[in-house]
């Protein structure tokens, strides 16, 4: 299955709270899982990425948690700020690897209230 399923579609969090976005996949051939962040009027940009040989990757307030057996991964935004309000996409890389192709999830629109 060449799909990545993302939830929720939208999320509202208070400033200082934790935002959690989840993704699930079926194809065990995927071996790279990036998250992209898109601000209004801009194209998506790489935020953070993980490979399946680690269970967690942290960059500042952003953490990816990866559960290989469950074929799920999630993005956690700690101490969420209004500036984090954006659309977030999870993704995975289908074979063949040399194309650079990605399959994207459906997107989550995050609103952080001050």
């Amino acid at each position: 299955q060449q799909q990545v399923k993302q939830s929720p579609q939208s999320l509202i969090v208070q400033k200082g709270g934790i935002s959690i976005i989840n993704c699930a996949y079926e194809n065990t051939a995927f071996d790279y899982f990036p998250w992209y962040q898109q601000f209004p009027g801009k194209g998506p940009a790489l935020l953070i990425a993980i490979r399946p040989d680690v269970s967690e990757k942290k960059e500042g307030r952003f953490t990816i948690s990866f559960n290989k057996s469950a074929k799920q991964f999630s993005l956690h935004i700690m101490d969420s700020q209004p500036g984090d309000s954006a659309t977030y996409f999870c993704a995975a890389n289908p074979p063949p690897r040399n194309t650079g192709k990605l399959i994207f999830g459906q997107g989550t629109t995050l609103q952080v209230k001050p």
Binding site: Q6, Q9, Y32, P34, Y36, G41, K42, G43, P44, A45, L46, A49, R51, F89, N93, R97, N98, T99, G100, K101, L102, I103, F104, G105, Q106, G107
Partner: protein, 115 residues
Amino acid sequence: DVKVTQSSRYLVKRTGEKVFLECVQDMDHENMFWYRQDPGLGLRLIYFSYDVKMKEKGDIPEGYSVSREKKERFSLILESASTNQTSMYLCASTPLVQGLRETQYFGPGTRLLVL
């Protein structure tokens, strides 16, 4: 600094018109992609190109064609625009992947309205 530019930010066309969307990257990347973005559907791949004059269909190629005559330029063509092609169109590029997972660099998007 990495840069992907798209020819228009907003475009309004009539049903049946031929529409050209252009994308230019200045990073000497081999791979280029065209996506459409619709609420609740995420980014869906229309076509991609891994070299000049080379192209492959993505997940939703129907109603679209592409052209890549120069390495830096990748054009998306709507042969006869229809209202269901009203969408945000995003172009992206990435260098040739050699066992690595390369970042896709996106342009700012073109919002197309077909009346």
